[in-house]
Assembly symmetry: C2
Homo-oligomer: 419 residues x 2
């Protein structure tokens, strides 16, 4: 597979739009059958994909990428089977389109139905993770959308091969292969072209690090589904149960430090800290948690280093944690308001009133009372599939399932009604 450097992004987007019209008239079953067939074909043709993946890995080794990066890039027969299984799982989910959200009849007998329909064309911009190529295609086709894929340059051979195999598979289904467009370019200009293609692309979904997402949000005129960073806080209130508090803190910080629903800052009530210092110190030490604390914390927690302004805003994605001490729940809420990213925020307390204040005043997608922030996740919440975790307020907020890939139409059925 040769990677072109000159691609006609607009022509591909137009093809996707045309294909999306064909997708709209397919039945749920026809789309599910295509997903199942894609799964089989991916497993059957895994060697083609692995051969292409080897090229990306070789280039990656030459560039000296980190182990974690190489791990995400690297495919195997088993991983490809996992992708296939993912498609089979998605095929079993409820069709998010064609759902009548509400219906009523006006006094003049005009019937009104508010029905979910596909968005049309999804533009997916992501980093060097070949799994997204399959996942995103599965979610798009399941929800009746065409997709334009623009993956990270360092996975371009793997992605090209995956799409080639999927195209081959789609040719044997009712889904037109033009519904899956792959921008085979390592040129950043190709990505930028997608930003303004409002006529052909209905929504852009950036998946990856903060910088990628910000670039899309700031430059795109196509609407964006923003999935963002999580600077999540655990607030241990004066009236917090010590066991719950420590369990939740340790879990939210250390279960998977690199994910967006992990805790990055502990806010702790000074009275609780005074009373439970020893238990907290023990837990922090046992779990190798490095504290960056404010002045009061530095005095109280041994081994802590001073926290600067940047620590309050930092998404460590490691076992480091910023620790801020406060005098009451309102001070905690204010700190979250200043530094939070509106993702997931938790309060640990036995005081119902404090919890209610926290729920009412903290502006975030997910709020927790006496539970770990780690549950902000489509899988954990039982959504079946997750597009991402939205940190925006419009359209979808928090973990997004398949319905986030739909819009609505009002369908009016009359017998000649005029106004």
């Amino acid at each position: 597979m040769t990677v072109k450097t000159n691609v006609n992004v607009e022509a591909q987007a137009i093809e996707a739009k045309k294909a999306s019209k064909k997708l709209m008239v397919l039945s749920t079953e026809e789309r599910n059958e295509a997903l199942l067939h894609l799964a089989d074909v991916l497993e059957r043709e895994y060697e083609t994909i692995l051969a292409a993946n080897e090229k990306d890995l070789e280039a990656g080794r030459e560039k000296g990428f980190t182990e974690a990066f190489m791990d995400r890039l690297s495919l195997s027969k088993e991983r490809i089977s996992d992708f296939a299984q993912g498609l089979r799982d998605v095929s079993k989910l409820e069709d998010p389109t064609g759902q009548v959200l509400s219906d009523w009849t006006l006094e003049n007998d005009l019937r009104v139905e508010k029905v979910t329909v596909p968005l049309g064309v999804i533009g997916m911009i992501y980093e060097a993770r070949p799994n997204v190529t399959v996942d995103a295609t599965g979610l798009a086709l399941k929800s009746g959308n065409a997709i334009v894929l623009k993956g990270g340059s360092n996975a371009i051979n793997s992605n090209a091969a995956i799409v080639e195999v999927m195209h081959k598979g789609l040719a044997e289904t009712k889904v037109p292969k033009e519904a899956v467009q792959f921008i085979a370019s390592t040129d950043r200009a190709a990505t930028n072209e997608l930003f303004t293609m409002k006529e052909h692309i209905d929504v852009l979904i950036p998946r990856g690090g903060g910088k990628l997402i910000q670039a899309v949000v700031e430059n795109a005129t196509v609407p964006v589904l923003e999935t963002g960073v999580g600077n999540c806080h655990i607030y241990i209130d004066k009236a917090a149960d010590v066991e719950k508090a420590i369990n939740i803190l340790v879990n939210a910080k250390t279960d998977r430090p690199a994910v967006c629903n992990a805790a990055e800052t502990l806010i702790v009530h000074k009275d609780w800290l005074a009373e439970n210092r020893e238990a907290l110190v023990k837990a922090l030490q046992e779990n190798d948690i490095q504290v960056h604390g404010d002045e009061h914390v530095l005095d109280v927690l041994p081994g802590s280093v001073p926290a600067g302004e940047e620590d309050w805003a930092n998404e460590y994605l490691s076992t480091d944690i910023a620790v801020k001490s406060v005098d009451d729940v309102l001070e905690a809420i204010e700190h979250i308001e200043t530094y939070g990213t509106k993702h997931s925020e938790a309060i640990v307390t036995e005081d119902e009133e404090a919890a209610q204040k926290f729920f009412a005043l903290v502006d975030a997608a997910a709020l927790y009372h006496n539970a770990s922030t780690r549950f902000t996740d489509g899988g954990a919440l039982g959504f079946g599939a997750e597009i991402g975790i939205s940190t925006q307020k419009l359209h979808a907020r928090g973990p997004m399932g398949l319905p986030a890939l739909t819009t609505i139409k009002f369908l009016m059925k009359g017998t000649g009604q005029i106004r």
Copy 2:
């Protein structure tokens, strides 16, 4: 009231954000009481408002504005009473916040609630229509949101007086007067400042002509609720009932030609046209509808003038109409795809299959089978209040009621759950 030219837009937005926090903890009743009180105060202080309005009218007369423009600008005791009645009506509507959209319990007994909450701060950018100042404030407060108002320069004295009166009224309620911010500037730079104030403003709503809306959509990084132009089509199919077709056409074109759900183009099947030419000609003549037709139409409909490319895209907002003849429903759908604005589109036919194709393939907020496009309206659909008609696909599409001014929070109630 002196109009300042130097305003601190950011300081006002920050005040609005602070006030929005206070609004969030008020009860439905407290917000409704504030609306009712505002209604009374507006009626009581109408003379202050009329005096300020007179200044705007005088300036408008000097500038030689059109009669229609002056009419929209002009206030009277009765109009102010209408505004007050509008607030009273809104106070009676269901609170769109605090609604539990869904709730479930995970296997580990973590309770999940998906609840509607206010967006926070709404930025309203509108033209010289003082009624929007009151309407938008009412909808914002009803839904628990603060609002930043930036109205058209030519109504600045009227708007300033209305806000002054409302502030006076709010001082006697639980709603902080800072929840209603008025940008008292005629400087366009003040509007532009709102475009990027993402930290303090949660959504911008432009209300007015296409140019205003496009300026906001293209330049704002704050999310926008886009209400757009309506280039709506009536497609008269081969199998259309002649009476229904003509009634719907005349109603959609002439009932209120200047509104966005009025028809701008008639697409007509050539066979139907051949058979029903006389009836159509009679209806067009009786209703003074000026036809801009394609070549076939020019031959068939007397008095029609040639339609150019610009006619197919034009929102006439008059009794002019573009007429396109087609050979089948797919050609009609294609024309709508090329020139439509995804607002409201109608098919008149007795052929169920043609109607189904139209419903499946036309990409628009509202689709009609055998009814006039004029029903795309929050009032007509029974929404109680209408924020505008969204021509975007994300968040809200079509007529937007109060729920469009809310977002959601996931509220998780646990007993120490970790993952």
